[in-house]
Symmetry: C2
Subunit: 160 residues, 2 copies
DNA sequence: GGTTGATATGTTATACTATAACACTTCGTG
DNA sequence: CACGAAGTGTTATAGTATAACATATCAACC
């Protein structure tokens, strides 16, 4: 591994961040009676290694170099499992996936996507505009997608 | 045209809704010195006719039956133009497009997507969780994607 | 021990979504 | 009338995703 990537937009102890997330996923699977198989584990690990969002085919390419699967369904199935279990989030805007920053808590995630460096930071959603509109129209919300695109603090500097 | 589709989730005068939106687009193009060509006009009309989100290839199929273009770039270019001008919004969750419900005002749109009937209602976004997170991290928001999936009032009934 | 069923992976093929690149037309302007 | 800008037509291809079926593994049960 090279330099630790930023999480959120700040430096952090990336090694412990990765191992903590893997341990949390491991424990959650055990508690739920689910299998945390090598493909699933490695897929999560690949996403944890960078805090950028990776496309399914990027993940697949890395799995492939390690002999863990070379065909799209392998990657898509592992990603679907991880998303279902809340260890990974899908970024609709990018058709990509990113490791969850808070796998231990239930949450409606929101994301800030830097168009400069590609880093994706996870925030806690607050349901802003939608909660009100949903209530007045009687719409029953089951899932939300909240994503903002823009520039992170680091990438704002060059523009100035 | 058959029954008017719901806008938001309520019945409305669909004919006037369509013609008003077309007139608004026409006026906006004139004001901005842009061409509201037959392909562009008909593409917007197709989206206005239903308040469901249509995929680019659905739009293309309908353009094709009318001799207005049969190849993907035709539809994608018209849709890109309409999105740029704010007459149409892209629904990331569905890889689909929907006519704007308020083409006259600047707005950050938010959407409620019914997984029962496919209707997409547009609401005004309020930037909920993201504004706070963005400010504390220094992230500069340029665009937001806010989409909720769930059940509209009508589609909640059968489930009960 | 063998059978059965559940879960996961491997593989083929294909569907769906999107854009690059280039040719042609149209039209306004100098 | 030459030129350039904008739009459309077309070919080809890139990128994203899933259906369907084959194989493997393993636990539970008889």
């Amino acid at each position: 591994m090279t330099d630790p990537a930023p999480k959120g937009f700040e430096a952090h102890d990336h090694n412990s961040c990765v191992s903590a997330a893997l341990a949390a996923a491991d424990a959650a699977c055990a508690a739920r009676g689910l299998q945390f198989t090598p493909v699933r584990r490695r897929t999560l690990e690949i996403l944890l290694e960078s805090h950028e969002a990776l496309g399914a085919y990027d993940v697949l390419a890395r799995l492939n170099t390690e002999g863990l699967g070379s065909k799209p369904p392998v990657a898509y199935r592992a990603l679907a499992f991880l998303v279902e279990q809340g260890f990974v989030h899908r970024i609709e805007r990018l058709n990509a996936f990113v490791a969850c920053a808070h796998p231990d808590q239930e949450h409606d995630p929101a994301f800030m996507i830097c168009r400069g460096c590609g880093t994706v930071a996870e925030a806690q959603a607050v349901q802003g505009g939608l909660a009100v509109s949903a209530q007045t129209t009687g719409f029953q919300i089951e899932q939300t997608v909240i994503e903002a695109e823009g520039l992170c603090p680091t990438c704002q500097a060059p523009a100035a």
